[in-house]
């Protein structure tokens, strides 16, 4: 019984669509697609035009880093290595000696990184950025650890952020906080 019912249903749909009309529609779709220009970008020959938000590689602007360790603590993979030491120095006008943290090592192991971007989000002083560069595959997994010099170089490839959409709220930042204070 079940088979006869399905057969009946098939015949009904065939009658509704007209025999062969659906087949011809399919053929015309493929033919029209063939005559259109293909959208493929021939990657090694043509570099892709990537948007500013692309998560390619993480760049470090060392001058902005205060060695607060927030990025390395928040990192789910623990792939950020930070070494630092404290230096104290006497202020010129006298008074209590001040201490400052000096960065000794800042490295990201991109073999571990899962590109979640939490470090970039959490950085309080805008020292970490996303760069759209992605061509840094290595033959040795140890070379996937990018030290601070290499991370600094990636900052040169960071794109300016895209413009805000029309009617969007002003971003919550230093200026906004100052105005409200």
């Amino acid at each position: 019984m079940a088979t006869t019912e399905t057969q009946g249903a098939q015949q009904n749909t065939q009658k509704e669509q007209g025999i062969g009309l659906g087949l011809l529609t399919g053929l015309s779709v493929t033919l029209r697609t063939m005559l259109k220009r293909s959208v493929t970008v021939q990657y090694p020959h043509v570099k892709p035009d990537l948007p500013a938000r692309t998560r390619g590689v993480i760049a470090l602007k060392e001058a902005n880093c205060t060695v607060c360790y927030k990025c390395s603590r928040e990192c789910p993979d623990w792939c950020i290595y930070i070494d630092a030491h404290k230096e104290t120095h006497e202020p010129a006008g006298g008074g209590r000696a001040r201490s400052a943290k000096i960065l000794d090592r800042f490295a990201i192991d991109f073999a571990l990184c899962m590109y979640c971007g939490i470090c970039v989000e959490v950085c309080p002083f805008d020292a970490l950025f996303w760069s759209p560069e992605f061509e840094y595959a290595e033959y040795d997994i140890n070379d996937m650890v990018h030290e601070r010099e290499r991370l600094e170089e990636w900052t040169y490839t960071v794109l300016p952020p895209p413009a805000l959409e029309e009617g969007a709220e002003a971003p919550a930042g230093d200026e906004a906080q100052e105005a409200s204070a």
Binding site: L27, T30, T33, S38, V39
Partner: protein, 335 residues
């Protein structure tokens, strides 16, 4: 009839053996080159129908050498024969699948006097030979000692039995109109009107049956990769697998050639375009029909096995028989 019954080679070369060698060489070259061109066309057409580019690297210009590179790759691969396989049958099967299409090519005319052999029973020979290829698939499936291979082979056998009938009947109608079994004769009989016009439904039936014979999508259940891996060819590697692939493309070329001889006037030009020589027309028609076969593959999903059988037995065969009856009436009535 004003038929040039001798081929151009025979009328220019007096030595029988030299003429034989020349004809065999030309047929072999066509058999090795045209299927590659069709295969390349399939790569490109399929890609563009899916908004891709297809091969672009091999041979610098739009990947024209891709299939030659593929061939070189297949030659280098290890030739694995399963431990439980029937080694002799397993090894012969690719040849059995490939050679019939090469043999069919011998009788295909590319011009009024351009053919290797003008058999009086040409179309009979073509259909008989193209059926042998099925045997290769069956041998491959049975000797592989693999359940998927066996299932694929059984599907292929069922499908080829089902679709051989409409194929032969559609060809028979063209033969009845032409009054001859010779392929050159059938082409020459279409001087006034190509048989695609009086026999249009049969042309469609022939093409559908040809696609099914070649186990090409949408009738590719014998090699349905999502169900039975690659059917009868599952256990094949390297050069033997390449032979099966070549026989698939050779089959497309041969079936397109037969269809254009039976229905599209073979090497005959369109009216007013007789400046262009016959062989170019023949190759043009072969490529046009091959394009249609690729087009079908790019468009339609695979049917179910039972749908395939029902379609052949309760739709194609009765339609073909009725049309043949009509052709017979017309033929008798007009004398």
């Amino acid at each position: 009839m004003l038929l040039a019954q001798t081929s151009v080679v025979d009328s220019n070369v007096s030595n029988y053996w030299l003429a034989l060698v020349i004809k065999a060489l030309v047929v072999l070259i066509i058999f090795l080159v045209v299927p590659l061109a069709v295969g390349y066309m399939e790569h490109k057409v399929l890609a563009h129908m899916q908004a891709r580019l297809g091969p672009m690297e091999a041979g610098v210009f739009h990947g024209w050498a891709q299939l030659m590179a593929d061939g070189a790759k297949f030659i280098q691969k290890e030739d694995v024969i399963p431990a439980a396989a029937d080694r002799a049958v397993f090894s012969i099967a690719p040849g059995v699948a490939l050679v019939p299409y090469l043999v069919v090519l011998v009788v295909i005319p590319f011009g009024g006097d351009i053919f290797a052999l003008n058999l009086d029973i040409g179309i009979f020979f073509v259909l008989a030979m193209s059926s042998i290829g099925v045997l290769g698939v069956l041998m491959a499936g049975w000797s592989s000692a693999n359940k998927f291979s066996l299932m694929g082979a059984l599907r292929a056998a069922a499908q080829l039995i089902a679709y051989e009938l409409p194929l032969v009947l559609a060809a028979a109608a063209a033969v009845m109109l032409a009054g001859t079994l010779s392929l050159v004769g059938i082409v020459e009989a279409q001087q006034n009107i190509w048989y695609v016009f009086p026999l249009f439904p049969l042309f469609l039936v022939f093409m559908m049956a040809a696609v099914a014979e070649l186990t090409r999508p949408p009738f590719d259940m014998p090699v349905a990769d999502s169900e039975i891996i690659f059917g009868a060819y599952t256990e094949y590697t390297g050069l033997k697998f390449a032979f099966f692939l070549l026989s698939e493309y050779g089959g497309i070329v041969v079936m397109s050639a037969v269809a254009s001889v039976l229905f599209l006037g073979g090497y005959l030009p369109l009216p007013g375009l007789s400046v262009i020589p016959g062989p170019i027309w023949m190759f043009g028609k072969i490529f046009a029909l091959s394009f249609v076969i690729v087009w079908l593959r790019a468009t339609f999903p695979r049917l179910r096995e039972d749908q395939l059988q029902r379609f052949a037995w309760i739709k194609l065969v009765p339609v073909t028989l009725l049309w043949i009856l009509g052709v017979a009436f017309v033929k008798v009535a007009t004398g």
